[in-house]
């Protein structure tokens, strides 16, 4: 027998009390774990999405900031156009390393499109630096004009034939999942084919034609030379009438603002709950020490040192709250898994991208949740444990007489 088993035996004395306390701690640690997992997932998505985005600046038409941000984060179709001549002018700026145009279009509901309201992106393979580098899988040949690349969450298979406005395409490749809606959900095709689709759309009368022509683009993705002054390049681009510049920082900030709005209440409530748990444990362990005063005095009479009693009370609390922590994390993980789709749907409706954390990251968060539960136990029981350890043995033994 060891002191540990004595602590276990003590916890078994009042199973209902032990279970209730463990559940209270489980709720708090489960909330911490779940919240951390979701927030981590958003951060991971932002990091991954923007690191793969590759563009330092995004030039879009004036007044389309919100639409572009939504398109980027959720992949929701958003169409706007500006004069494509801006691409050459920006390329000519000394600090610009690369500038690649993209044009955005949506598919129509009808027999001529395999799916309606899908987000199509035309990109220029010659100047592209944000699509082709992130192909996760592709066919064993070069990309042809009538090929498309699908996002990481697309249900289309490699080699499958899809059709838009009566034009047939082959799914050539699939991008890696990033959690960024644009790259996960959109279908990417050569920009010249996108212009062809605009022409083709005019043949159909059951849907409005695509409202752009070859002289227009939706966005210009710009990569700045490492040695260039970013502010100076931004200033130079901003001189073009009708152009608006979006930086990755703009988008991240807006996501973080949404995130704060969504989770600040949860984080606050969790903090209050944890503090409540500490106080509750402190009160209950004070009662436990009081109930067992005579036993504790007896242990002192048999030779227990002060620190032994201190350790005994802390061990009970640590055991109880760690068990609660493990339970909470397990239930939290289960809830996240069961409601995965709902969570992602709600986050995307708030323009918050999300990518499930990696297994190792989940394990780290689970560890943090359990350690937090342990700390709750140790903090809550610290004062009662001290009280138990400093009692004069004779007074403790005579308790209740």
């Amino acid at each position: 027998m060891r002191l540990f088993s004595l602590a276990v035996q003590n916890l078994k004395r009042k199973p209902f009390r032990t279970l209730s306390l463990a559940l209270a701690v489980a709720i708090a640690s489960g909330a911490v774990f779940s919240t951390a997992a979701v927030m981590w997932g958003v951060e991971r998505s932002l990091d991954r999405g923007f690191s793969r985005f590759g563009a330092d600046l995004l030039v879009v038409p004036q007044g389309t900031l919100v639409g572009m941000r939504t398109a980027l984060l959720t992949g929701e179709p958003s169409t706007f156009y500006m004069d494509g001549a801006i691409a050459e002018r920006v390329r000519a700026l000394s600090g610009v390393a690369k500038a690649s145009p993209q044009v955005f279009l949506t598919t129509a509901e009808g027999d001529h499109c395999i799916i309606g309201d899908a987000f199509l992106v035309g990109f220029d393979p010659q100047s592209d630096f944000t699509v082709l580098p992130w192909l996760r899988e592709r066919m064993e040949r070069d990309m042809r004009p009538d090929d498309v690349i699908v996002g990481g969450r697309s249900e289309y298979d490699i080699g499958q034939t899809v059709y838009f406005y009566g034009e047939y395409f082959t799914v050539y490749g699939r991008l890696e999942r990033t959690g960024m809606g644009l790259y996960d959900n959109a279908v990417f095709m050569r920009i010249d084919k996108a212009y062809d689709l605009a022409e083709a759309s005019k043949r159909f009368t059951d849907a409005p034609p695509l409202a752009f022509d070859e002289s227009q683009i939706s966005a210009l993705l710009v990569q700045i030379r490492p040695t260039a002054n970013v502010d100076a390049v931004q200033f130079a681009i901003a001189q073009h009438p009708g152009a608006r510049i979006i930086t990755a920082g703009n988008v991240v900030t807006s996501v973080r603002q949404n995130l704060v709005a969504l989770f600040s209440g949860t984080v606050f409530l969790t903090a209050v709950f944890i503090a409540g748990n500490v106080l509750m444990l402190s009160a209950i362990f004070s009662t436990i020490v009081n109930e067992r005063k005579r036993e504790l005095g007896l242990l002192r009479a048999i030779g227990a040192r002060r620190r032994t009693l201190f350790g005994l009370v802390l061990s009970e609390a640590a055991l109880l709250t760690t068990a609660g922590g493990v339970l909470g994390v397990a239930v939290g993980a289960l809830v996240l898994r069961v409601y995965e789709r709902t969570i992602v749907f709600h986050l995307e409706s708030m323009s918050i991208p999300f990518l499930w954390p990696a297994v190792l990251e989940i394990a780290v968060m689970a560890g943090i949740g359990i350690v937090l539960a342990l700390l709750v136990g140790l903090t809550g029981a610290a004062w009662p444990a001290r009280t138990a350890s400093v009692m004069e043995p004779y007074d403790a033994i005579r308790a209740g007489e």
Partner: protein, 254 residues
């Protein structure tokens, strides 16, 4: 079992002045008794009133001696016992065990002393309810310096057999009668072969027949182990078998 010499080697036996500020070996008599009390007193303050529970007690107990202290309830005999056992600090005076002033040392020293040299039998049922009889007997092993070494279960079982509970080693206290519980407590008190057994009304809540059995058991085992036995009781008949019988009245030992 650790010997007295081994105990003296511990840091607790250093010449440091302890919590009371008294020197550890201050004025024991030239021939060292197992227990020696010099001017030991205990008083409490309740409001403006000072209660003198024990007044200037001098006492010597030799190894293997059986001393009984009789007195009415509230006469101070339990308080005296607890000061000898290192459970409550005297207001004045010194308690020497094996020549060491126990209250001149720190709390860890007294814990070690209680674990290694002193056994206690209390008036109440003093078993841990969640532990079996054998685990209750093993508690001194768990709490003492042997913690982490071999569990000495065979010693505990032998002691339980010695007190007639060989069939009840795995019984929980709630499954034992009052007399059986007291026997387990005696086995536990004697587990580390103490040099001094302190018993506070050890048969207080037992019937006459069980009382005699328990008393006989304590005396026999103390004789076998050459353990000094100090018992406080209000029962004169029980005290009759003692080598010395002392009377305690209003905190004064005579």
């Amino acid at each position: 079992m650790r010997t007295h010499e081994q105990m003296q080697e511990t840091r607790y036996m250093s010449a440091d002045r302890g919590e009371t500020g008294a020197a550890p070996n201050e004025a024991p008599t030239s021939v060292t008794a197992l227990v020696e009390l010099k001017g030991v007193a205990k008083s409490y303050r309740i409001g403006d009133q000072e209660i003198h529970a024990v007044r200037d007690v001098d006492l010597r107990i030799e190894s293997g001696q059986f001393v009984a202290i009789i007195g009415h309830s509230g006469s101070g005999k339990s308080t005296l016992l607890s000061m000898i056992g290192g459970l409550t600090r005297p207001t004045r005076g010194n308690v020497f065990i094996d020549g060491e002033n126990i209250w001149a040392h720190d709390d860890d020293y007294r814990s070690m002393l209680r674990n290694q040299k002193i056994g206690f039998v209390f008036q109440f049922a003093s078993l841990i309810p969640t532990l079996t009889a054998v685990d209750n007997v093993l508690l001194p092993n768990l709490l003492g310096p042997r913690n982490g070494r071999r569990p000495r279960e065979e010693d505990a079982i032998a002691l339980l057999e010695r007190v007639g509970l060989g069939e009840k080693i795995d019984a929980f206290p709630s499954e034992l009668s009052g007399g059986q519980q007291r026997r387990v407590a005696i086995a536990r008190a004697l587990f580390n072969r103490p040099r001094l057994l302190l018993a506070d009304e050890p048969t207080g809540d037992l019937d006459e027949e069980t009382e005699a059995e328990v008393m006989e058991l304590m005396l026999e085992t103390c004789r076998e182990l050459d353990t000094a036995f100090l018992m406080v009781t209000h029962n004169r008949a029980m005290a009759e078998t003692a080598d010395r019988v002392l009377m305690m009245k209003a905190g004064i030992l005579s």
